[in-house]
């Protein structure tokens, strides 16, 4: 075979040599194609594997850790939550609507393939600044795509996050997370076992869409990928809904031995992974695969990424039942092969063998790379930039209004009013809260969920920033009254073959791992997206964290708004933040630099436990974490209905009002409970500051008893609430 062939498919010469060795012969074109997708970064994790090993993945709550289509966590009452996050960055860069839509579709399949009914979707978006038309176009398309897919399938989108930064110019990140619920007895897995059991393709027909999408997702975006545009696939949420109902019905009927969705690398990855997990082989006759287009070759059939398809191994003898269930939902189910005992993925066309590959060679014997790692020059340089002498650039009111009008901080209603966030009538905290909360029907419990990552922090200090992404997720979950349970991640980085990028990756993951360990939230699944770069730039390292938490008692759900006059307002944690990596610094000094405050995970853990303890005792009225924009912004966010009067005693006004430092939470309580909270904090050794009280219709902040801000609610709330909408509703519209 010509080297050109495998090189074009994305394999290097050593990899090809390894394939020959594993096969014991020269592979044919189809076989090389199959190896190339299975050994792509997207499917094989060849670069990230050694790093991911360091994540804590165990805990008493974990029923299924990484390795399956999605992880599972126990929530008691014989129920479990299933969740997973995944990227659809590259497809979304080319076709934002379909890219985002099919991202949601793929996530949902990963969840119902485990036997769970999806109950919620979240989305994490990273885009270039909205001043640029192309970013507006991408933002608009991505949000419409998520809305279009999620809404029509009837699953609420209850949360997410979004940041705008020029590091994402032309390289949008679109990560979707899906969450499902199941009874323990219904857990299904992606395994093919039981020699002679049939293998069935169900759902949509196979077409030529997205061929080489998996490799496509792992190479840098360049002129070249422009030409591969047809590699984008389109979704059909209606079909997905039917597929979901049919699959769940079948799994619950006990007819299924193994089931897996066809995601990246469609039939190739689903069949080889199922065979490998089951220590079996699979034999399929590709001429039996139902198709949408004529003249498709085995290569195209194996590599197609047509959406809304699943591979099912039912119990032998129950094929008819499978067909009937699918027919009732208007879907096709076709036997295309069987499970064998020889560990080989054997493909036939009209009875002729066209490929024979040991399944394990595809899944377990992919090369593993220990990439070079080097600290980038920018790291020390930016860290050492002195920020302590900076003084407030403008008056407090102008700074606050400026920050609130920054799309990263401004309210996100323009996004989530396009998402059905109430389908299923279980949503107790809708988007706009610190985390989405759903009640769990039939119990008195709720589940909370969030996605988080400030990539500027990660850029400035990958270790601390990685840990902070987990901290932010945990504090968001805790702020709605839920105990953090577990994490799924989506690791978005640049080209790992660049040692400086690999250094970011390694350090950020170490930070994530450490935070997960201390906060007792094991990583139960995730996804890696590398090569997020163009010749012009690389994204900031963005290890997105999706977290789910458990609310033991629905009546303890907490809001991030003051709901009455006279609530006593306190701050848990340090009253001064730092300017390093802050929105203030970026906006008013045009600088993304500084040394992040030192990480104190143990202290933060203690604080979050304390918060949950107070809440369980019924002592809290509201809670909100302090993130971008610092304390002044956090207070502004909490005052939709009631104003506040606040005083800070501090030496540094700028750092106190606008400095950032994660792990801090604003809480409120009634007058009656205030003293109790103060004394409990003292006993527990938790730092607690009284800030002031709610009431009136103004935001009034003084520093050392000198008034520095006194502004009516409607003045700044309208800025907060309308900024994004104003930007997006001018001439995008169509």
């Amino acid at each position: 075979m010509e080297p050109k062939v495998w090189r074009e498919m994305g394999l290097n010469d050593e990899e090809y040599a390894r394939i020959e060795e594993l096969m014991g012969r020269e592979p044919n074109f189809l076989e090389v194609g199959i190896f190339s997708v299975m050994w792509s970064e997207h499917c094989s994790y060849k670069t990230s594997k050694p790093i991911l090993k360091k994540f804590p993945t165990e805990g008493p709550q974990v029923l299924q850790g990484p390795g399956e289509n999605a992880g599972i966590v126990d929530i008691g009452d014989n129920l479990a939550v299933v969740f997973k996050m995944e990227s659809h960055n590259h497809p979304s860069a080319t076709e934002p609507y379909q890219g985002a839509a099919t991202g949601v579709g793929g996530m949902l399949r990963d969840v119902f393939t485990m036997g769970a009914r999806p109950v919620a979707v979240l989305n994490a978006l990273r885009l270039g600044p909205l001043e640029e038309e192309n970013n507006k176009f991408l933002f608009n398309g991505v949000v419409s795509g998520i809305s279009g897919y999620g809404n029509s399938i009837g699953i609420p989108t209850v949360g997410g996050d979004v940041y705008f930064n020029s590091c994402y110019n032309g390289i949008p990140l679109v990560n979707a997370m899906a969450v499902g619920l199941l009874e323990h007895c219904h857990i299904a897995k992606g395994v093919a076992t039981g020699v002679g059991n049939p293998v069935m393709v169900v759902g949509a027909r196979t077409g030529r869409d997205g061929i080489h999408g998996a490799t496509f997702a792992s190479i840098e975006l360049s002129e070249e990928s422009e030409a591969k545009r047809s590699a984008v696939q389109a979704g059909d949420p209606f079909m997905e809904k039917l597929l979901m109902e049919a699959c769940l019905e079948l799994i619950h009927a006990g007819a299924v031995v193994g089931i897996q969705d066809m995601g990246a690398a469609g039939l190739t990855s689903s069949s080889s992974e199922m065979a490998s997990r089951g220590n079996s082989g699979i034999e399929m006759d590709l001429s039996l695969v139902p198709r949408r287009e004529s003249g498709m070759t085995p290569y195209e059939l194996m590599l197609s990424e047509s959406q809304e398809r699943m591979l099912i191994v039912p119990k032998a003898g129950r094929e008819k039942e499978v067909e009937e269930v699918f027919a009732r939902w208007g879907l096709e189910a076709t036997v295309v092969g069987k499970v064998t005992d020889d560990g080989i993925l054997r493909l036939l066309e009209d009875g002729q063998v066209v490929a024979e590959i040991p399944a394990k060679a595809l899944t377990d014997q992919a090369p593993v790379y220990h990439r070079l790692s080097r600290e980038p020059g920018y790291y020390q340089e930016l860290k050492n930039i002195e920020l302590n002498d900076l003084e407030l650039k403008a008056n407090v009111e102008d700074v606050l209004l400026g920050l609130l009008a920054n799309p990263t901080i401004a309210g996100k209603e323009w996004i989530y009013r396009q998402y059905d966030h109430q389908a299923g009538t279980n949503t107790m905290v809708v988007p706009g809260g610190d985390a989405g909360v759903l009640r769990v029907r039939g119990t008195n419990k709720g589940i909370a969920m969030t996605t988080d990552c400030n990539s500027r922090y990660v850029y400035l200090d990958p270790y601390i920033g990685g840990a902070l992404a987990v901290v932010e997720a945990a504090q968001n979950v805790a702020c709605v009254g839920a105990r953090p349970l577990a994490v799924t991640d989506c690791l978005n980085f640049g080209n790992p073959e660049n040692p400086e990028i690999f250094w970011q990756f390694e350090k950020a993951c170490a930070g994530v791992a450490e935070a997960c360990r201390v906060l007792e939230t094991p990583v139960i699944g995730g996804n890696v997206s590398l090569y997020n770069e163009t010749p012009a730039r690389t994204v900031y390292p963005t290890p997105l964290i999706g977290m789910v938490g458990l609310l033991e008692d629905l009546k303890h759900v907490l809001s991030n708004q003051f709901h009455s006059e006279g609530e006593q307002i306190y701050l848990l944690g340090e009253s001064e933040g730092e300017l390093a990596g802050s929105e203030y610094l970026a906006l008013f000094e045009n600088l993304e630099a500084g040394a992040l405050p030192e990480l104190n995970l143990q202290e933060i853990k203690k604080r979050l436990d304390f918060l949950l303890e107070l809440n369980c005792a019924g002592l809290l009225l509201a809670a909100h974490d302090v993130t971008e924009g610092g304390l002044a912004v956090a207070l502004a966010e909490m005052t939709e209905k009631y104003g506040v009067t606040i005083n800070f005693d501090t030496k540094n006004k700028l750092k106190t009002l606008f400095g950032e430092r994660l792990g801090r939470i604003i809480i409120s309580t009634s007058k009656d409970d205030a003293l109790r909270i103060e004394s409990q904090a003292k006993t527990a050794g938790i730092s607690l500051h009284r800030l002031g009280e709610s009431g009136g219709d103004r935001l009034r902040i003084s520093v050392n008893q000198v008034m520095c801000l006194d502004i009516p609610l409607n003045k700044y709330r309208s800025v907060f609430e309308q900024t994004i909408s104003k930007i997006m509703e001018t001439d995008v519209g169509f």
């Binding site: 809305s147 009837g154 949420p237 209606f238 809904k241 039917l242 109430q422 107790m428 759900v557 509703e729």
Partner: protein, 234 residues
């Protein structure tokens, strides 16, 4: 009360089912391939995305076998209630006048919405006051109600407009209109008063913990209506 909820492929019948349970009823789900709705006191066409809302929202569902039965049921005076997508099916199927276009802003909208109850003499609204402003969320991409001038005149003349989008103060202005619907129409009834369609989703505001109880009035109205009918021996 014997309530049937039609289940089309793609529809979100579950929310409606749970809403009825809140007021103590246990409806029956009717698969769209069935051909009879005999013996029911009320047929609900639920919200959601029947057939993915493809082609035009509600259009494909009209051809499900069950719809002929629903039509006959309505013609004989049976109560039919279409919510969201159900309303779209009723207009597509000719049970109610008018048609739906995509929202004026071209975007899907999920948000709380103020409505004014224009009539309370109906089976569906007797628990509200005329002129009462209630808050019920909308959730649609094609909720822009359109009707010819003639058609509109007839709606007015026959007093068929039941719900209108309004501002929190109850004003029927452009401000209160989320989707461009003609004359802020959010819900209408047929002349006979037994077929009711509305775009907002009362089934989503049945419990305080998920955002309010303003939707209960509709469900309780229907139960009240049924109770009165039974008392009068109908």
């Amino acid at each position: 009360m014997k309530i049937g909820i039609i289940r089309f492929p793609g529809s979100g019948e579950g929310d409606c089912l749970e809403a009825w349970r809140v007021v103590g009823e246990e409806p029956v789900l009717i698969w769209h391939q069935e051909t009879s709705v005999e013996g029911f006191d009320l047929i609900v066409l639920p919200g959601g995305f029947s057939y993915g809302d493809y082609l035009r929202a509600g259009a494909l569902a009209c051809f499900s076998p069950i719809m002929s039965a629903v039509l006959r049921f309505a013609q004989r005076g049976g109560l039919v209630w279409g919510i969201g997508n159900g309303f779209q099916i009723l207009t597509e199927g000719g049970l109610l006048p008018g048609a739906f276009l995509c929202n004026a802003q071209l975007r899907f909208l999920c948000s709380p919405q103020y409505l004014r109850v224009e009539r309370n003499d109906l089976a569906f609204t007797n628990q509200y006051r005329t002129g009462q402003v209630i808050q019920i969320p909308i959730n649609h991409g094609e909720g822009n109600y359109s009707i010819s001038d003639d058609g509109y005149r007839q709606l007015e003349e026959n007093n068929q407009i039941v719900l209108r989008y309004v501002t929190p103060e109850g004003e029927m202005s452009a401000n209160g209109n989320p989707n461009g619907s003609r004359a802020n129409i959010a819900g209408i009834v047929n002349r006979e008063g037994n077929v009711f369609g509305m775009m907002p989703h009362p089934e989503r505001v049945m419990e305080e913990i998920i955002g309010g109880v303003d939707g209960q009035g509709m469900f309780l109205s229907i139960l009240k209506h049924r109770e009165r009918r039974t008392q009068h021996g109908a």
